[in-house]
Protein backbone atom coordinates (compact mmCIF):
# COMPACT_ATOMS: atom_id res chain seq x y z
CA UNK A 1 0.00 0.00 0.00
CA UNK A 2 1.65 3.15 -1.17
CA UNK A 3 0.52 6.74 -0.70
CA UNK A 4 -0.16 8.50 -3.99
CA UNK A 5 0.12 12.12 -5.02
CA UNK A 6 -3.68 12.24 -5.26
CA UNK A 7 -4.00 10.98 -1.73
CA UNK A 8 -1.64 13.68 -0.49
CA UNK A 9 -3.83 16.29 -2.19
CA UNK A 10 -6.88 14.87 -0.46
CA UNK A 11 -5.08 14.98 2.90
CA UNK A 12 -4.17 18.57 2.12
CA UNK A 13 -7.83 19.39 1.57
CA UNK A 14 -8.72 17.83 4.91
CA UNK A 15 -6.43 20.23 6.73
CA UNK A 16 -6.89 23.18 4.37
CA UNK A 17 -3.45 23.16 2.83
CA UNK A 18 -3.09 24.00 -0.86
CA UNK A 19 -0.31 21.87 -2.31
CA UNK A 20 1.59 22.18 -5.55
CA UNK A 21 2.19 19.10 -7.69
CA UNK A 22 5.86 19.15 -6.73
CA UNK A 23 5.03 19.23 -3.04
CA UNK A 24 2.51 16.43 -3.39
CA UNK A 25 5.10 14.20 -4.99
CA UNK A 26 7.72 14.99 -2.36
CA UNK A 27 5.29 14.46 0.51
CA UNK A 28 4.09 11.18 -0.96
CA UNK A 29 7.70 9.98 -0.95
CA UNK A 30 8.17 11.19 2.62
CA UNK A 31 5.05 9.43 3.88
CA UNK A 32 5.92 6.22 2.10
CA UNK A 33 9.34 6.24 3.71
CA UNK A 34 8.04 6.79 7.24
CA UNK A 35 5.10 4.43 6.88
CA UNK A 36 7.31 1.67 5.54
CA UNK A 37 9.45 1.93 8.63
CA UNK A 38 6.33 2.00 10.80
CA UNK A 39 4.98 -1.10 9.05
CA UNK A 40 8.24 -2.89 9.70
CA UNK A 41 8.56 -1.95 13.34
CA UNK A 42 5.07 -1.44 14.74
CA UNK A 43 2.83 -4.03 13.14
CA UNK A 44 1.82 -6.86 15.40
CA UNK A 45 2.37 -5.03 18.69
CA UNK A 46 -0.26 -6.12 21.19
CA UNK A 47 0.51 -3.84 24.15
CA UNK A 48 -2.27 -1.66 25.51
CA UNK A 49 -2.21 1.76 23.85
CA UNK A 50 -0.77 4.37 26.22
CA UNK A 51 -3.10 7.34 25.80
CA UNK A 52 -1.87 9.57 28.58
CA UNK A 53 1.69 9.94 29.71
CA UNK A 54 0.64 12.01 32.71
CA UNK A 55 -0.17 9.80 35.66
CA UNK A 56 -2.31 12.55 37.17
CA UNK A 57 -6.09 12.20 37.35
CA UNK A 58 -9.09 14.41 38.06
CA UNK A 59 -7.36 17.77 37.75
CA UNK A 60 -10.17 20.29 37.89
CA UNK A 61 -10.65 23.90 38.90
CA UNK A 62 -13.52 25.47 40.78
CA UNK A 63 -16.19 27.31 38.78
CA UNK A 64 -14.91 30.82 39.49
CA UNK A 65 -15.24 33.82 37.19
CA UNK A 66 -12.12 35.84 36.39
CA UNK A 67 -11.41 38.91 34.33
CA UNK A 68 -11.39 38.40 30.56
CA UNK A 69 -8.97 40.16 28.23
CA UNK A 70 -9.88 43.71 27.29
CA UNK A 71 -11.57 43.72 23.89
CA UNK A 72 -8.71 45.67 22.27
CA UNK A 73 -6.30 42.93 23.28
CA UNK A 74 -8.65 40.23 22.03
CA UNK A 75 -8.68 41.86 18.60
CA UNK A 76 -5.13 43.22 18.59
CA UNK A 77 -3.58 40.43 16.49
CA UNK A 78 -6.42 40.11 13.99
CA UNK A 79 -5.76 40.77 10.32
CA UNK A 80 -9.19 42.34 9.89
CA UNK A 81 -11.87 43.45 12.33
CA UNK A 82 -15.24 45.13 12.12
CA UNK A 83 -17.73 46.19 14.79
CA UNK A 84 -15.70 44.55 17.53
CA UNK A 85 -15.56 41.26 15.67
CA UNK A 86 -13.02 39.31 13.66
CA UNK A 87 -13.92 39.75 10.02
CA UNK A 88 -13.54 36.95 7.50
CA UNK A 89 -14.62 36.49 3.89
CA UNK A 90 -17.86 34.67 3.29
CA UNK A 91 -18.22 31.18 4.63
CA UNK A 92 -19.26 28.69 1.98
CA UNK A 93 -20.68 25.40 3.10
CA UNK A 94 -18.87 22.46 1.49
Amino acid sequence: MSVTKQEIKRLGEMIYLDLTDGESVRFADLLNLVLKKADDLLSGLKDKPLRHISQLRNRMREDGVGIPLPKEKVLANAAETQDGCFRVPRILED
Binding site: M14, I15, Y16, R51, H52, I53, S54, L56, R57, N58, R59, M60, R61, E62, D63, G64, V65, G66, I67, P68, L69, K71, V74, L75, Q82, D83, G84, C85, F86, R87, V88, P89, R90, I91, L92, E93, D94
Partner: protein
Protein backbone atom coordinates in the same frame (compact mmCIF):
# COMPACT_ATOMS: atom_id res chain seq x y z
CA UNK B 1 -48.52 7.16 5.21
CA UNK B 2 -49.92 3.99 6.71
CA UNK B 3 -47.38 1.84 4.96
CA UNK B 4 -44.36 3.44 6.64
CA UNK B 5 -43.00 3.73 10.12
CA UNK B 6 -40.70 6.60 11.06
CA UNK B 7 -37.47 5.88 12.92
CA UNK B 8 -36.20 8.98 14.67
CA UNK B 9 -33.18 9.68 16.84
CA UNK B 10 -32.39 13.03 18.38
CA UNK B 11 -29.07 14.69 19.10
CA UNK B 12 -29.46 17.45 21.64
CA UNK B 13 -26.90 20.02 22.71
CA UNK B 14 -27.44 21.76 26.04
CA UNK B 15 -25.30 24.64 27.32
CA UNK B 16 -24.56 24.16 31.00
CA UNK B 17 -25.28 27.04 33.33
CA UNK B 18 -21.88 27.25 34.98
CA UNK B 19 -20.66 30.69 35.95
CA UNK B 20 -17.40 30.34 34.02
CA UNK B 21 -16.45 28.58 30.81
CA UNK B 22 -15.32 24.98 30.63
CA UNK B 23 -11.57 25.60 30.39
CA UNK B 24 -11.10 29.19 31.55
CA UNK B 25 -12.57 31.66 34.00
CA UNK B 26 -14.32 33.82 31.39
CA UNK B 27 -17.96 34.52 32.28
CA UNK B 28 -20.78 32.84 30.36
CA UNK B 29 -23.32 35.65 30.51
CA UNK B 30 -25.72 35.66 27.57
CA UNK B 31 -25.94 38.77 25.45
CA UNK B 32 -22.70 40.47 26.53
CA UNK B 33 -20.99 42.89 24.14
CA UNK B 34 -19.17 40.94 21.41
CA UNK B 35 -15.69 39.58 22.19
CA UNK B 36 -15.66 40.85 25.78
CA UNK B 37 -15.79 37.43 27.43
CA UNK B 38 -12.62 36.03 25.92
CA UNK B 39 -9.12 35.16 27.07
CA UNK B 40 -6.09 33.37 25.62
CA UNK B 41 -7.63 29.98 26.45
CA UNK B 42 -11.04 30.35 24.82
CA UNK B 43 -9.52 32.24 21.88
CA UNK B 44 -7.19 29.29 21.34
CA UNK B 45 -4.13 31.53 21.44
CA UNK B 46 -0.84 29.73 20.83
CA UNK B 47 0.50 28.21 24.05
CA UNK B 48 -2.73 28.39 26.05
CA UNK B 49 -3.94 25.27 27.87
CA UNK B 50 -7.32 24.12 29.20
CA UNK B 51 -8.19 23.88 32.92
CA UNK B 52 -11.30 21.75 33.44
CA UNK B 53 -14.26 23.29 35.27
CA UNK B 54 -15.30 20.82 38.00
CA UNK B 55 -18.91 21.96 37.89
CA UNK B 56 -19.17 21.13 34.19
CA UNK B 57 -18.20 17.54 34.97
CA UNK B 58 -20.63 17.40 37.90
CA UNK B 59 -23.48 18.76 35.79
CA UNK B 60 -22.81 16.22 33.04
CA UNK B 61 -22.79 13.36 35.54
CA UNK B 62 -25.99 14.63 37.15
CA UNK B 63 -27.68 14.79 33.77
CA UNK B 64 -26.55 11.24 33.06
CA UNK B 65 -27.87 10.04 36.40
CA UNK B 66 -31.21 11.80 35.88
CA UNK B 67 -31.44 9.97 32.54
CA UNK B 68 -30.67 6.60 34.15
CA UNK B 69 -27.27 6.31 32.49
CA UNK B 70 -24.22 4.35 33.58
CA UNK B 71 -21.44 6.73 34.61
CA UNK B 72 -17.97 5.89 33.30
CA UNK B 73 -15.46 5.28 36.07
CA UNK B 74 -12.56 6.02 33.76
CA UNK B 75 -12.93 8.61 31.03
CA UNK B 76 -10.99 11.19 29.06
CA UNK B 77 -11.39 13.96 26.52
CA UNK B 78 -10.73 13.81 22.81
CA UNK B 79 -9.92 16.36 20.19
CA UNK B 80 -12.46 16.41 17.40
CA UNK B 81 -10.59 18.09 14.57
CA UNK B 82 -12.26 20.20 11.90
CA UNK B 83 -11.93 23.66 10.44
CA UNK B 84 -14.47 26.41 10.85
CA UNK B 85 -13.83 30.04 11.70
CA UNK B 86 -15.97 29.82 14.84
CA UNK B 87 -13.77 26.99 16.19
CA UNK B 88 -10.71 28.73 17.66
CA UNK B 89 -8.37 25.76 18.04
CA UNK B 90 -9.55 23.91 14.91
CA UNK B 91 -10.59 21.15 17.26
CA UNK B 92 -13.43 20.81 19.69
CA UNK B 93 -12.59 19.12 22.94
CA UNK B 94 -15.24 16.41 23.18
CA UNK B 95 -15.67 12.79 24.21
CA UNK B 96 -15.74 10.58 21.19
CA UNK B 97 -14.31 7.41 22.66
CA UNK B 98 -15.18 7.52 26.34
CA UNK B 99 -18.41 9.43 27.04
CA UNK B 100 -19.09 10.20 30.69
CA UNK B 101 -22.59 8.70 30.56
CA UNK B 102 -23.98 5.85 28.47
CA UNK B 103 -26.94 3.52 28.20
CA UNK B 104 -29.77 5.45 29.84
CA UNK B 105 -33.42 5.96 29.13
CA UNK B 106 -36.17 8.49 29.58
CA UNK B 107 -39.81 7.59 30.04
CA UNK B 108 -42.11 10.07 28.36
CA UNK B 109 -45.87 10.52 28.90
CA UNK B 110 -47.95 9.72 25.82
CA UNK B 111 -51.42 10.63 27.14
CA UNK B 112 -53.91 7.77 26.91
CA UNK B 113 -51.23 5.55 25.45
CA UNK B 114 -49.47 5.58 28.81
CA UNK B 115 -45.71 6.13 28.77
CA UNK B 116 -42.93 5.29 26.37
CA UNK B 117 -39.29 4.52 27.03
CA UNK B 118 -36.73 6.23 24.82
CA UNK B 119 -33.17 4.93 25.08
CA UNK B 120 -30.31 7.36 25.72
CA UNK B 121 -27.19 6.29 23.87
CA UNK B 122 -24.84 8.76 25.54
CA UNK B 123 -24.40 12.04 27.37
CA UNK B 124 -20.97 13.57 26.96
CA UNK B 125 -19.24 16.82 27.80
CA UNK B 126 -17.72 19.12 25.20
CA UNK B 127 -17.05 22.77 24.50
CA UNK B 128 -19.22 25.32 22.71
CA UNK B 129 -17.97 27.12 19.60
CA UNK B 130 -18.06 30.83 18.83
CA UNK B 131 -20.72 32.60 16.80
CA UNK B 132 -20.57 33.76 13.20
CA UNK B 133 -22.73 36.69 12.23
CA UNK B 134 -23.34 36.77 8.51
CA UNK B 135 -23.63 39.98 6.57
CA UNK B 136 -26.49 39.26 4.19
CA UNK B 137 -29.81 37.51 4.11
CA UNK B 138 -28.41 34.01 4.54
CA UNK B 139 -25.07 32.32 4.92
CA UNK B 140 -25.08 31.76 1.14
CA UNK B 141 -25.28 35.35 -0.06
CA UNK B 142 -23.23 36.92 2.73
CA UNK B 143 -20.16 38.71 1.41
CA UNK B 144 -18.35 38.49 4.72
CA UNK B 145 -18.88 37.17 8.22
CA UNK B 146 -18.03 38.47 11.67
CA UNK B 147 -16.81 36.28 14.49
CA UNK B 148 -17.70 36.70 18.15
CA UNK B 149 -16.03 34.27 20.55
CA UNK B 150 -17.98 35.12 23.71
CA UNK B 151 -19.78 31.80 23.46
CA UNK B 152 -16.66 29.77 22.61
CA UNK B 153 -15.81 27.50 25.50
CA UNK B 154 -19.13 27.48 27.29
CA UNK B 155 -19.57 23.92 28.58
CA UNK B 156 -21.93 21.91 26.43
CA UNK B 157 -23.41 18.47 26.85
CA UNK B 158 -24.44 16.36 23.91
CA UNK B 159 -27.31 13.96 24.52
CA UNK B 160 -27.87 11.30 21.87
CA UNK B 161 -30.98 9.13 21.89
CA UNK B 162 -31.37 5.66 20.47
CA UNK B 163 -33.52 5.58 17.31
CA UNK B 164 -36.56 4.77 19.44
CA UNK B 165 -38.82 7.65 18.50
CA UNK B 166 -41.60 6.84 16.05
CA UNK B 167 -43.43 10.09 15.34
CA UNK B 168 -43.01 13.82 15.24
CA UNK B 169 -45.29 14.09 18.25
CA UNK B 170 -43.13 11.68 20.25
CA UNK B 171 -40.07 13.69 19.32
CA UNK B 172 -41.65 16.84 20.64
CA UNK B 173 -42.83 15.21 23.86
CA UNK B 174 -39.40 13.67 24.36
CA UNK B 175 -37.73 17.01 23.94
CA UNK B 176 -40.15 18.68 26.35
CA UNK B 177 -39.61 15.95 28.93
CA UNK B 178 -35.85 16.13 28.54
CA UNK B 179 -35.90 19.87 28.91
CA UNK B 180 -38.06 19.54 31.99
CA UNK B 181 -35.58 17.14 33.62
CA UNK B 182 -32.56 19.24 32.78
CA UNK B 183 -34.31 22.25 34.28
CA UNK B 184 -35.35 20.23 37.33
CA UNK B 185 -31.75 19.36 38.12
CA UNK B 186 -30.76 22.97 37.42
CA UNK B 187 -27.82 22.34 35.12
CA UNK B 188 -29.12 24.51 32.27
CA UNK B 189 -31.83 27.05 31.59
CA UNK B 190 -32.56 25.33 28.26
CA UNK B 191 -33.67 28.39 26.36
CA UNK B 192 -34.13 27.39 22.77
CA UNK B 193 -34.38 30.95 21.54
CA UNK B 194 -31.03 31.78 23.16
CA UNK B 195 -29.53 28.60 21.76
CA UNK B 196 -28.83 26.99 25.11
CA UNK B 197 -30.91 24.01 23.97
CA UNK B 198 -30.48 22.84 20.37
CA UNK B 199 -31.76 19.80 18.61
CA UNK B 200 -30.84 17.90 15.46
CA UNK B 201 -32.91 14.97 14.29
CA UNK B 202 -32.03 11.85 12.34
CA UNK B 203 -34.97 10.34 10.54
CA UNK B 204 -35.61 7.44 8.22
CA UNK B 205 -38.68 5.52 7.13
CA UNK B 206 -39.20 1.80 6.79
CA UNK B 207 -42.14 -0.39 5.84
CA UNK B 208 -44.29 -1.13 8.87
CA UNK B 209 -43.16 -4.34 10.50
CA UNK B 210 -39.67 -4.18 9.01
CA UNK B 211 -36.70 -4.29 11.38
CA UNK B 212 -34.12 -2.95 8.96
CA UNK B 213 -33.31 0.74 8.99
CA UNK B 214 -33.92 2.87 5.93
CA UNK B 215 -31.58 5.59 4.71
CA UNK B 216 -31.67 8.51 7.11
CA UNK B 217 -31.42 12.24 6.74
CA UNK B 218 -30.22 14.61 9.41
CA UNK B 219 -32.28 17.73 10.02
CA UNK B 220 -30.66 20.84 11.43
CA UNK B 221 -31.82 24.27 12.54
CA UNK B 222 -34.67 23.09 14.76
CA UNK B 223 -35.00 26.12 17.00
CA UNK B 224 -38.24 25.46 18.83
CA UNK B 225 -40.42 22.56 19.92
CA UNK B 226 -42.82 23.52 17.20
CA UNK B 227 -40.03 23.44 14.63
CA UNK B 228 -39.01 19.96 15.73
CA UNK B 229 -42.52 18.71 15.25
CA UNK B 230 -43.26 20.50 12.02
CA UNK B 231 -39.93 19.62 10.44
CA UNK B 232 -40.32 15.94 11.27
CA UNK B 233 -43.91 15.89 10.05
CA UNK B 234 -42.74 17.45 6.82
CA UNK B 235 -39.78 15.11 6.46
CA UNK B 236 -41.91 12.02 7.08
CA UNK B 237 -44.24 13.11 4.27
CA UNK B 238 -41.34 13.98 2.00
CA UNK B 239 -39.52 10.69 2.48
CA UNK B 240 -42.75 8.72 2.11
CA UNK B 241 -43.32 10.49 -1.19
CA UNK B 242 -39.83 9.66 -2.39
CA UNK B 243 -40.20 6.01 -1.42
CA UNK B 244 -43.67 5.70 -2.94
CA UNK B 245 -42.28 6.96 -6.20
CA UNK B 246 -39.85 4.06 -6.04
CA UNK B 247 -36.89 6.38 -5.51
CA UNK B 248 -34.17 6.25 -2.85
CA UNK B 249 -33.86 8.70 0.03
CA UNK B 250 -30.51 10.51 -0.11
CA UNK B 251 -28.31 10.30 2.97
CA UNK B 252 -27.89 14.00 3.55
CA UNK B 253 -28.11 16.87 5.96
CA UNK B 254 -31.22 18.98 5.52
CA UNK B 255 -31.92 22.44 6.81
CA UNK B 256 -35.34 23.30 8.24
CA UNK B 257 -36.68 26.49 6.69
CA UNK B 258 -39.10 27.82 9.28
CA UNK B 259 -40.66 30.41 6.95
CA UNK B 260 -41.30 28.09 4.07
CA UNK B 261 -42.05 25.12 6.30
CA UNK B 262 -39.82 22.77 4.33
CA UNK B 263 -36.48 20.99 4.71
CA UNK B 264 -33.73 21.78 2.21
CA UNK B 265 -30.74 19.58 1.36
CA UNK B 266 -27.47 21.12 2.61
CA UNK B 267 -24.68 18.73 1.75
CA UNK B 268 -24.24 15.11 1.10
CA UNK B 269 -23.31 12.91 4.04
CA UNK B 270 -20.76 10.99 1.99
CA UNK B 271 -18.50 14.03 2.12
CA UNK B 272 -18.91 14.32 5.86
CA UNK B 273 -15.48 14.80 7.33
CA UNK B 274 -13.79 12.25 9.49
CA UNK B 275 -12.82 14.06 12.66
CA UNK B 276 -9.40 12.50 13.27
CA UNK B 277 -10.20 12.11 16.98
CA UNK B 278 -7.55 11.30 19.54
CA UNK B 279 -7.09 11.89 23.27
CA UNK B 280 -6.21 15.49 24.15
CA UNK B 281 -2.88 15.31 26.02
CA UNK B 282 -3.52 18.62 27.76
CA UNK B 283 -6.35 17.26 29.88
CA UNK B 284 -5.66 14.40 32.25
CA UNK B 285 -8.19 11.54 32.47
CA UNK B 286 -10.96 11.39 35.03
CA UNK B 287 -11.19 8.46 37.42
CA UNK B 288 -14.55 8.85 39.08
CA UNK B 289 -14.94 7.04 42.37
CA UNK B 290 -18.21 5.18 42.87
CA UNK B 291 -18.51 7.11 46.13
CA UNK B 292 -18.34 10.44 44.34
CA UNK B 293 -20.90 9.32 41.77
CA UNK B 294 -23.12 8.26 44.68
CA UNK B 295 -22.78 11.72 46.14
CA UNK B 296 -23.86 13.29 42.84
CA UNK B 297 -26.88 11.02 42.86
CA UNK B 298 -27.73 12.03 46.40
CA UNK B 299 -27.59 15.68 45.40
CA UNK B 300 -30.17 15.19 42.65
CA UNK B 301 -33.53 16.76 43.45
CA UNK B 302 -36.76 14.78 43.10
CA UNK B 303 -37.26 14.20 39.38
CA UNK B 304 -40.52 14.88 37.49
CA UNK B 305 -41.64 11.24 37.39
CA UNK B 306 -41.28 10.73 41.11
CA UNK B 307 -42.89 14.06 41.84
CA UNK B 308 -45.88 13.26 39.63
CA UNK B 309 -46.46 10.06 41.58
CA UNK B 310 -46.13 11.87 44.88
CA UNK B 311 -48.69 14.46 43.76
CA UNK B 312 -51.13 11.63 43.06
CA UNK B 313 -50.46 9.70 46.25
CA UNK B 314 -49.76 12.55 48.64
CA UNK B 315 -52.24 15.22 47.52
CA UNK B 316 -54.85 12.90 46.08
CA UNK B 317 -54.71 14.68 42.72
CA UNK B 318 -55.98 13.06 39.53
CA UNK B 319 -53.22 11.79 37.23
CA UNK B 320 -53.93 14.49 34.69
CA UNK B 321 -53.49 17.28 37.25
CA UNK B 322 -50.28 15.72 38.56
CA UNK B 323 -48.90 15.48 35.02
CA UNK B 324 -49.61 19.10 34.17
CA UNK B 325 -48.40 20.46 37.48
CA UNK B 326 -45.07 18.60 37.34
CA UNK B 327 -44.39 19.41 33.71
CA UNK B 328 -42.24 22.27 34.92
CA UNK B 329 -40.28 22.52 38.12
CA UNK B 330 -41.38 26.10 38.69
CA UNK B 331 -45.06 25.21 38.45
CA UNK B 332 -44.73 22.20 40.73
CA UNK B 333 -42.81 24.29 43.27
CA UNK B 334 -45.49 26.97 43.04
CA UNK B 335 -48.25 24.45 43.62
CA UNK B 336 -46.57 23.01 46.70
CA UNK B 337 -45.91 26.44 48.18
CA UNK B 338 -49.54 27.44 47.76
CA UNK B 339 -50.80 24.19 49.29
CA UNK B 340 -48.66 24.88 52.33
CA UNK B 341 -50.69 28.01 52.98
CA UNK B 342 -54.03 26.83 51.67
CA UNK B 343 -54.50 23.16 52.29
CA UNK B 344 -56.99 22.21 49.59
CA UNK B 345 -54.84 20.64 46.85
CA UNK B 346 -57.60 20.09 44.33
CA UNK B 347 -58.84 23.69 44.59
CA UNK B 348 -55.27 24.97 44.22
CA UNK B 349 -54.69 22.64 41.28
CA UNK B 350 -57.87 23.84 39.57
CA UNK B 351 -56.83 27.45 39.96
CA UNK B 352 -53.35 26.83 38.59
CA UNK B 353 -54.43 24.65 35.69
CA UNK B 354 -57.17 26.93 34.48
CA UNK B 355 -56.93 30.59 35.36
CA UNK B 356 -53.27 30.89 36.20
CA UNK B 357 -51.99 28.84 33.26
CA UNK B 358 -54.19 30.87 30.94
CA UNK B 359 -52.38 34.00 32.03
CA UNK B 360 -48.95 32.39 31.84
CA UNK B 361 -49.59 31.06 28.34
CA UNK B 362 -50.46 34.52 27.13
CA UNK B 363 -46.84 35.36 27.90
CA UNK B 364 -43.63 34.10 26.33
CA UNK B 365 -43.53 30.42 25.38
CA UNK B 366 -40.36 29.87 27.29
CA UNK B 367 -41.21 31.62 30.53
CA UNK B 368 -41.47 28.73 32.89
CA UNK B 369 -41.96 30.62 36.11
CA UNK B 370 -45.34 31.75 37.32
CA UNK B 371 -44.90 35.46 37.88
CA UNK B 372 -46.87 35.40 41.13
CA UNK B 373 -45.78 34.92 44.70
CA UNK B 374 -47.35 31.71 46.04
CA UNK B 375 -48.41 33.67 49.12
CA UNK B 376 -50.58 35.97 47.03
CA UNK B 377 -52.56 33.07 45.58
CA UNK B 378 -52.98 31.78 49.13
CA UNK B 379 -54.32 35.20 50.11
CA UNK B 380 -56.69 35.26 47.17
CA UNK B 381 -58.10 31.84 48.03
CA UNK B 382 -58.54 32.88 51.65
CA UNK B 383 -60.38 36.05 50.63
CA UNK B 384 -62.85 33.89 48.73
CA UNK B 385 -63.23 31.45 51.57
CA UNK B 386 -63.78 34.22 54.08
CA UNK B 387 -66.44 35.67 51.85
CA UNK B 388 -64.60 38.95 51.35
CA UNK B 389 -64.96 38.56 47.60
CA UNK B 390 -66.70 36.01 45.46
CA UNK B 391 -65.10 33.61 42.95
CA UNK B 392 -66.17 35.67 39.97
CA UNK B 393 -64.63 38.83 41.31
CA UNK B 394 -61.49 36.89 42.12
CA UNK B 395 -61.15 35.54 38.59
CA UNK B 396 -62.33 38.44 36.54
CA UNK B 397 -61.02 41.39 38.48
CA UNK B 398 -58.45 40.53 41.11
CA UNK B 399 -56.32 37.88 39.37
CA UNK B 400 -55.66 39.88 36.19
CA UNK B 401 -54.60 42.82 38.38
CA UNK B 402 -52.26 40.56 40.29
CA UNK B 403 -50.52 39.59 37.06
CA UNK B 404 -50.58 43.14 35.83
CA UNK B 405 -48.84 44.98 38.59
CA UNK B 406 -47.97 42.45 41.26
CA UNK B 407 -50.14 44.02 43.96
CA UNK B 408 -51.43 41.84 46.75
CA UNK B 409 -55.06 40.64 46.41
CA UNK B 410 -56.04 42.40 49.61
CA UNK B 411 -54.73 45.67 48.29
CA UNK B 412 -56.56 45.23 44.97
CA UNK B 413 -59.82 44.38 46.75
CA UNK B 414 -59.42 47.48 48.88
CA UNK B 415 -58.51 49.83 46.03
CA UNK B 416 -61.37 48.57 43.88
CA UNK B 417 -63.73 48.60 46.86
CA UNK B 418 -64.68 45.00 46.27
CA UNK B 419 -65.22 43.89 49.84
CA UNK B 420 -68.51 42.11 50.15
CA UNK B 421 -70.99 43.53 52.59
CA UNK B 422 -71.27 40.87 55.25
CA UNK B 423 -72.55 43.22 57.86
CA UNK B 424 -76.21 42.26 58.50
CA UNK B 425 -77.18 45.71 59.77
CA UNK B 426 -76.01 47.28 56.49
CA UNK B 427 -77.93 44.72 54.47
CA UNK B 428 -81.18 44.74 56.45
CA UNK B 429 -82.40 48.05 55.07
CA UNK B 430 -81.65 47.09 51.48
CA UNK B 431 -83.40 43.73 51.84
CA UNK B 432 -86.45 45.38 53.37
CA UNK B 433 -86.78 47.81 50.50
CA UNK B 434 -86.29 45.08 47.86
CA UNK B 435 -88.99 42.92 49.44
CA UNK B 436 -91.28 45.96 49.64
CA UNK B 437 -90.75 46.80 46.02
CA UNK B 438 -91.48 43.23 44.83
CA UNK B 439 -94.58 42.05 46.67
CA UNK B 440 -95.61 39.72 43.79
CA UNK B 441 -92.33 37.88 43.86
CA UNK B 442 -92.51 37.58 47.62
CA UNK B 443 -95.97 36.05 47.23
CA UNK B 444 -94.68 33.56 44.66
CA UNK B 445 -91.93 32.53 47.05
CA UNK B 446 -94.27 32.11 49.92
CA UNK B 447 -96.51 30.15 47.58
CA UNK B 448 -93.73 27.57 47.21
CA UNK B 449 -91.80 28.82 44.15
CA UNK B 450 -88.39 28.81 45.79
CA UNK B 451 -86.64 29.53 42.49
CA UNK B 452 -87.56 33.21 42.67
CA UNK B 453 -85.15 33.56 45.56
CA UNK B 454 -82.44 34.01 42.93
CA UNK B 455 -84.21 37.09 41.60
CA UNK B 456 -84.52 38.61 45.04
CA UNK B 457 -80.87 38.03 45.89
CA UNK B 458 -79.92 39.46 42.51
CA UNK B 459 -81.88 42.63 43.25
CA UNK B 460 -80.05 43.06 46.54
CA UNK B 461 -76.72 42.58 44.80
CA UNK B 462 -77.74 45.13 42.20
CA UNK B 463 -78.60 47.64 44.89
CA UNK B 464 -75.24 47.08 46.61
CA UNK B 465 -73.30 47.17 43.34
CA UNK B 466 -72.34 43.53 43.74
CA UNK B 467 -70.74 43.93 47.11
CA UNK B 468 -73.29 42.05 49.15
CA UNK B 469 -72.30 38.58 50.20
CA UNK B 470 -74.83 36.49 48.21
CA UNK B 471 -74.80 33.59 50.64
CA UNK B 472 -75.59 35.94 53.52
CA UNK B 473 -78.29 37.77 51.59
CA UNK B 474 -79.91 34.47 50.73
CA UNK B 475 -79.97 33.43 54.38
CA UNK B 476 -81.30 36.77 55.56
CA UNK B 477 -84.17 36.84 53.05
CA UNK B 478 -85.12 33.29 53.89
CA UNK B 479 -85.10 34.17 57.60
CA UNK B 480 -87.15 37.31 57.06
CA UNK B 481 -89.85 35.63 55.00
CA UNK B 482 -90.22 32.85 57.54
CA UNK B 483 -91.58 35.32 60.02
Amino acid sequence: MHDFEAVIGLEIHVELSTASKIFCSCPTTFGAEVNTQCCPVCLGLPGSLPAMNRKAVEYTVKTGLALNCRIAQHTWFDRKNYFYPDLPKAYQVSQQDAPLCTGGCLEIPMGEKGTKKVGINRVHLEEEVGKSLHAGETIIDAVYSLLDYNRAGIPLIEIVTEPDIRSAEEAQVFLESLRNIVRYIEVSDCKMQEGSLRCDANISLRPKGSTVFGTKTEIKNLNSFRAVRRALEYEIKRQAGVLKDGLAVEAETRHWDEQKGITIAMRSKEHASYYRCFADPNLVPLDLAAEWIGQMEAELPELPGARRQRFIDGYGLPEYDAQVLTSSKEMADFFEEVVKGYNDPKTVSNWIMTDILRHVKDQDEETEGIPLAPASLVELLQLIEQGTINRNQAKEIVLPEMFEDGKSPRQIVKEKGLEQISDTSQLEGVIASVLEANPDVVQDYLGGREKVMGFLVGQVLKETKGKANPRLVNEMIREKLKQ
